[in-house]
Amino acid sequence: MKKVAILAAIIFSLPLLVSNPYYLNVLAFVGLYFLVTLGLTIFIGYAGQISLGHGAFYALGAYGSALLGFYAGLDPWGATLVTLLFTAFGAGVLGFFILRLQGHYLVMATLALNLIVYFLLIEAEEITGGVSGLPGIPPFCAGSFCFQSDLSNFYLIWGIALVIFVGVLKALGGRLGRELKAIKASEDAARALGLPVLRYKVGTFVFSAVLTALAGALYAHYLTFISPKTFDVFYSIEVVTMVLVGGMGNPWGAFWGALFLTPLPQILSSFDEYKDLIYGLILMSILIFYPQGITSWWEKTLKKTPSFSLFSR
């Protein structure tokens, strides 16, 4: 918890150092990705399942809260809340069916879900605006203050993300964490001990889906414009990549993965034509040499460094 407090202090004081709105925007996006990877790392790392369909939940959060505002007249908070409840219900029903699938078949089912939602967003043009997108989404407001600037959205997103982060660390440190670990170690043994394995899997699926939809809603009311391109299969692959690069099953890995990979394409854009080549090489190298993720590498290096052990004494 001390580490989280330090992290929170660093993050909340960052705007004092960074005043460029472009950098604040990138940092706010790290927060959005962190929300998604935090849920996903539990689903992948503990429940041992793979989803390449979380772009669909990201879309559900964004389009759901925007359209509820337009057609049901709900304010952004209410629209987000209703969307999250709907996502929880939908993911629960869906998860109950598709989480019986094994390995590649589950990958395909989640991929198919993402593709169906993506094509629906494009084809249902009268409702979603189609390829050209949906403009004019209102921002979140509290009283007369509206979260319109990059700075206020930075604080809104990171405030929510850090509260959830603390909750997740607490939950995983207790009984729930041990039960999930038991399922990861051996499903059959966990079942023999009386753990309802499928219910736990569906539970982690619903949790990660709701966090992703929350990130989607925050995204929509922050940018005030959404279009289908954001929610394609590449997004789903990207967030799983972040989880793996950070180190799956590790909530801190979710943070480092998001922090490392979110700005990487922008950093590499100075290499211009070689951008994709270098991005691919970095990704492959990390997964080949540090399959436990950059978090493990970083923890090991810290432990090996004698000066650090002097410090910690």
Binding site: M108, F119, I288
Partner: protein, 291 residues
């Protein structure tokens, strides 16, 4: 309803289905050797098509050389992926290996963009004379696609049944450890499987490029179609790849005729329904029955 037009759509669907079947078999061969999904499979298709473009159009060489060049270079890319990225990986965890191929796919796309640029290409047709069955006239490329694909499947069937290498690959697919104990050089078989997957992708690329223009990013979409076909038929199954591919193609062709706007959605909805009813695909693997 115009039967001739419907038949045109179905024939076009069937020939795309043959392409999906080739790609699906590439997915299956790699799966049987290693248990992973190779996300770079679609990029092998684009690589093959672009190599063929250089040979045919830039250098003006004959078509058979384009086939040879595309298939061998894509096969080489497959071997390099396995030797340089997957074999040295420190983890044997499936998910990590799968995402190494995701990195490889991004790398390959960057490389293709670097060499051939961003512009989509299409290949000149193999033959230009339209074929006719009575009043039913069709593009000869469809004939080439179906003919070459079916021959490739037939030859591979003979290969897996009757040659030592084919039998070795089947043995590794069944149980790699026991195969190694029997003296089969498993690392070589795995490398050969990637070569075969690459070759199948390259072949699909040369065949499809005269009908669909391909850009450096097309690999993702076409790879997804092949993956879908493989799942539909039963992942890793040899007849399943052919059946899944042709069925997916026919579905798309039919959907394009009846409701063109929703044809993409329809294919995936049907896939989801199939997965819920038959979670192992249409022709699931019985133990010892792969390939």
């Amino acid at each position: 309803m115009d039967l001739v037009i419907l038949a045109q759509f179905l024939l076009a669907g069937l020939s795309s289905g043959a392409i999906y079947a080739l790609i699906a078999l590439g997915f299956g061969v790699v799966h049987n050797a290693t248990g992973i999904v190779n996300f770079a499979q679609g990029d092998f298709v684009v690589l093959g098509a672009f190599v063929a473009y250089s040979i045919l159009v830039s250098w003006g060489l004959p078509y058979w050389l384009a086939f040879l060049g595309a298939v061998s270079l894509a096969a080489l890319a497959g071997v390099l992926l396995e030797r340089l990225a997957l074999a040295p990986a420190r983890s044997r965890e499936i998910l990590i290996l799968v995402f190494i191929t995701v990195g490889a796919s991004i790398f390959l796309r960057g490389l293709i963009k670097e060499i051939w640029g961003k512009r989509p290409f299409s290949l000149p047709p193999i033959s230009t004379q339209d074929l006719a069955l009575g009043s039913f006239v069709f593009d000869p490329q469809y004939g080439w696609i179906l003919g070459v694909t079916l021959s490739a499947f037939f030859l591979l069937h003979l290969f897996f049944r009757y040659t030592l290498w084919g039998k070795a690959m089947r043995a590794v697919a069944l149980d790699a450890q026991t195969a190694a104990l029997m003296g089969i050089p498993v690392p070589w078989v795995v490398a050969a499987s990637f070569a075969l997957a690459g070759a199948l992708g390259g072949l699909a690329g040369v065949l499809v490029a005269p009908v669909w223009p391909l850009g450096f990013e097309s690999g993702v979409l076409i790879g997804l179609k092949g993956f879908t076909a493989a799942i539909l038929g039963g992942y890793g199954s040899f007849p399943g790849a052919l059946l899944g591919g042709l069925l997916l193609g026919l579905l798309e062709g039919g959907a394009a005729y009846f409701a063109s706007a929703y044809k993409n959605i329809l294919a995936y909805v049907i896939l989801l329904v199939v997965l819920l009813i038959r979670p192992e695909g249409l022709l699931p693997l019985a133990r010892g029955q792969r390939l």
